[in-house]
C-alpha cells in the first residue's frame, strides 16, 4: 500500500472479460482493487474457473457480502460482493453480482468454498437474498422470530421488534 506498484499489463478482470465475454458486464480497478461485475446466471461458471484454473487458483473466498443499492441509484437493487484471494499467486479479485429486487436469488458457492456457507447465511439474514443450493439457509446473527432484514436501506434503524422468549 505504501508504494505504487506497477500495474500488471492486463488486469485479471479484463482477462476474465476476454474469457467470458457474455458473463462479465463491467470491470474497474478503483483504489487498486481489481473488480469484475458478473451476470448472475454466470456466477458459478466464473467462480469455478477462478478456483480450478491452475494459473488463477483462487483457493480462498475471503469475504462475501452484499450492498443494498436502494439509495445509490443503481440499476439493480442489490449487489452481492465476493472477495477472492489466491495464496499461490498472492492476488485478490472482487466479483460483484447484481441482483434484482423481484427475484433476490443467487447461486450458492458453499460447495466450492466452505467459507461461503456462513457468509451466505449472513447475507440472507441481513439482506434477504436467497442462495440457491445452500445446504441450510437460516439466519446467522439474528434470531428466527426476527422479521425483516436489518441491513436493507428501507429497514429503519430505530425499529423495535417484540421481545421473544419465555415470560414475554
Amino acid at each position: 500500500m505504501s508504494e505504487e506498484q506497477a500495474p500488471p499489463p492486463v488486469p485479471l478482470s479484463e482477462q476474465l472479460r476476454a474469457r467470458f465475454p457474455e458473463a462479465v458486464i463491467a470491470t474497474h480497478q478503483q483504489a487498486g482493487d481489481d473488480t469484475a461485475v458478473v451476470r448472475r446466471e454466470s456466477l458459478r461458471a466464473v467462480a469455478q474457473h477462478l478456483r480450478d484454473e491452475p494459473e488463477l487458483a483462487f483457493n480462498v473466498l475471503m469475504d462475501l457480502t452484499a450492498v443494498d443499492g436502494l439509495k445509490l441509484g443503481a440499476a439493480s437493487r442489490f449487489e452481492v460482493v465476493y472477495h477472492f484471494y489466491s495464496l499461490e499467486q498472492n492476488r485478490r479479485l472482487r466479483l460483484k453480482v447484481p441482483v434484482e429486487e423481484q427475484d433476490p436469488t443467487v447461486d450458492s458457492l458453499a460447495d466450492l468454498w466452505p467459507s461461503a456457507n456462513w457468509f451466505e447465511r449472513e447475507v440472507w439474514d441481513m439482506f434477504g437474498i436467497r442462495f440457491r443450493g445452500h445446504p441450510s439457509l437460516k439466519r446467522l446473527l439474528m434470531y428466527e422470530e426476527f422479521s425483516g432484514h436489518p441491513l436493507r436501506k428501507d429497514y429503519p434503524v430505530n425499529r423495535r421488534q417484540p421481545l421473544i422468549g419465555p415470560g414475554n
Partner: protein, 445 residues
C-alpha cells in the same frame, strides 16, 4: 438364557451460551456418542449490536469508536484497518511518523491479544497461574496504551488521515522496559506450559484441521499458519511500513491446538521485535518536538482568550493540554497527520486562533459537511491478531459511509468449529474453542 440387549443412543448436549468456557455468547449443540463428538452445530449472534447498520448512520469518523468494540482485546488494529480503508478511498497518505506509531500500537495490541488468548485457554485447562501471569503482562502493555491513547480499551486512537496524538514523553524508554518485563513473563509461562504433561496431552492432536480445509473455510492468521500455510497480510500485501521491518511469520505443521499455541507464543516475540525496530526507526525521534517556540498556555485560557477575540497572544503560544490530549497540538500535528483539509481537523491553536482554522474545523464537524470520500468502494485488509481483518467500505460521495462491512477473522474459524470438534472427545471442546480465540465483538458485530 438370553443376554440383556442394552439400547444405545446418541446424546444431544447443549453447551452454552451460559457456560463459562463459551464466554457467554456461543451455543454449541453437540451430538455425543459416549464422550466422542459425532457432530456439532454452532450458534452465534448473541452479541449482535448492529455495527454495520450503526456505521451508516453517522459520519466517517463516527464509526471509529464502534471499531474499538469489534475486537475488544486488540482494538487498535481495528482502528488502523478502518482508517486505512477510508484513506485509500481518499488517496491519503499518513506521514511516516504516524505510520510507525500505528504499527507500534498495532503490534502492542497483537501481544495483548495473544496473551489473553493463551492465558485464557491455559486457565480453562487448569493452569490458573499462567492466566494470572499473562494478565499481569497484559496489564503492563495496557498501561503503555493508556499513556498514549488515554484509555485502556475504548481507545479511539486513529483518525482518518493520522492518529489522535503523538507519543508521550519517555515512551521509548518505558516501552523497552515493558517489553523486557513481558519477555520475562513469557519465559515463565513457557516453562510452565510447553513441557507440561497435562497441557501438552490436552493440546496435542486435538482440534486438528488440514491446510486445505483451513483455506477452504477462509481461515487466516495464526490459526491458518499453524497448518503450515504461509499467509500473513503484513507479509503478502504489506501496508503501513511493514515492508521495511524484519520479522518472521511462524509456521506450524500439524494444525492442532498445540501448534496454534506455539505460533501465538512466537508471534508475540516477533511483535516485540517489530516494536523495537519501529522505535529505532521512528522519524522525529522518540520524544515530542523539542524546543517549541512560544509560551505554554492552558487550553481553557486559550478558549477564553479566543472567545473574547484576544487571538494575538495565541499565535505564538502552544496550549498545555490535558494528559489525554497531549501531543495533539500544533508542533506535533503535522508529524502525525496528513496535510489534508478534507479529512484532518486543524490543531486547536488554529481553530481558536485564525479564521481559516475555524472554518476548516467546522467544515469537518458540521452536520452535512464532514469527510467526503469520492464515490466508490475499497477493501482494505490488515493482519488482525486472529487473522485477516477486512474493511469493505462503499462511499456514495456524501459525508456518511454508504456501507461498512467488516470481515471478522474469527467468523470463518467458528464456521469450521464443527469440523474441528467432530471426532474429538467432549473434553477437547474447551482447548479447541480456546485456541479459536473467539472474540464476540467482531464475530457478532
Amino acid at each position: 438364557m438370553e443376554a440383556t440387549a442394552y439400547e444405545t443412543r446418541d446424546l444431544l448436549l447443549n453447551v452454552g451460551p451460559a457456560h463459562p468456557a463459551m464466554h457467554g455468547i456461543i451455543r454449541i449443540l453437540l451430538q455425543l456418542d459416549g464422550e466422542t463428538i459425532k457432530g456439532a452445530d454452532v450458534e452465534i449472534g448473541y452479541l449482535h449490536r448492529g455495527f454495520e447498520k450503526m456505521c451508516e448512520q453517522g459520519g466517517y469518523n463516527h464509526a471509529i469508536p464502534y471499531t474499538d468494540r469489534l475486537n475488544y482485546v486488540s482494538p487498535l488494529i481495528n482502528n488502523v484497518g478502518y482508517c486505512l480503508a477510508i484513506e485509500r478511498l481518499m488517496g491519503l497518505t499518513v506521514p511516516e511518523r504516524g505510520q510507525y506509531i500505528r504499527v507500534i500500537m498495532s503490534e502492542i495490541s497483537r501481544i495483548t491479544d495473544h496473551l489473553t488468548c493463551v492465558g485464557a485457554s491455559a486457565m480453562e485447562l487448569g493452569a490458573f497461574t499462567v492466566f494470572l501471569y499473562m494478565i499481569k503482562a497484559r496489564e503492563y502493555l495496557w498501561e503503555l496504551i493508556e499513556q498514549v491513547t488515554g484509555a485502556r480499551l475504548t481507545i479511539s486512537y486513529c483518525r482518518v488521515g493520522g492518529v489522535k496524538a503523538d507519543l508521550p514523553e519517555g515512551f521509548e524508554t518505558r516501552t523497552r522496559a515493558v517489553l523486557a518485563q513481558v519477555r520475562e513473563v513469557l519465559v515463565e509461562c513457557d516453562t510452565l506450559l510447553t513441557r507440561n504433561r497435562i497441557f501438552v496431552d490436552r493440546m496435542k492432536g486435538t482440534g486438528t484441521i488440514t491446510q486445505q480445509d483451513a483455506l477452504g473455510y477462509g481461515i487466516t492468521g495464526p490459526f491458518l499458519r499453524s497448518t503450515g500455510a504461509n499467509f500473513d497480510v503484513r507479509k503478502q500485501t504489506p501496508y503501513l511500513v511493514y515492508d521495511r521491518l524484519t520479522f518472521e511469520a511462524p509456521l506450524g505443521q500439524h494444525g492442532d491446538n498445540l501448534d496454534r499455541y506455539f505460533c501465538r507464543m512466537e508471534e508475540m516475540e516477533q511483535s516485540m521485535r517489530i516494536v523495537e525496530q519501529c522505535l529505532a526507526q521512528l522519524p522525529g525521534g522518540s520524544i515530542q518536538a523539542e524546543g517549541v517556540a512560544g509560551q505554554a498556555i492552558a487550553a481553557a485560557d486559550m478558549v477564553d482568550a479566543a472567545k473574547m477575540g484576544r487571538i494575538a497572544e495565541i499565535a505564538g503560544t502552544h496550549p498545555v493540554t490535558d494528559p489525554t490530549l497531549e501531543g495533539s497540538n500544533k508542533p506535533f500535528h503535522q508529524r502525525i497527520n496528513a496535510p489534508e483539509k478534507r479529512a484532518v481537523l486543524p490543531p486547536k491553536e488554529d481553530t481558536y486562533g485564525n479564521i481559516e482554522g475555524l472554518m476548516s474545523h467546522f467544515k469537518l464537524i458540521m452536520f452535512g459537511h464532514g469527510i467526503r470520500p469520492p464515490k466508490g468502494e475499497v477493501y482494505q485488509a490488515v493482519e488482525g491478531a486472529n487473522g485477516e481483518l477486512g474493511f469493505y467500505v462503499v462511499s456514495d460521495g456524501t459525508d456518511k459511509p454508504y456501507r461498512v462491512r467488516v470481515r471478522p477473522p474469527c467468523l470463518p474459524m467458528m464456521a469450521a468449529l464443527p469440523l474441528l470438534l467432530t471426532g474429538d472427545m467432549m473434553a477437547d471442546v474447551v482447548p479447541t474453542f480456546g485456541s479459536v480465540n473467539m472474540i464476540g465483538g467482531e464475530l457478532d458485530r
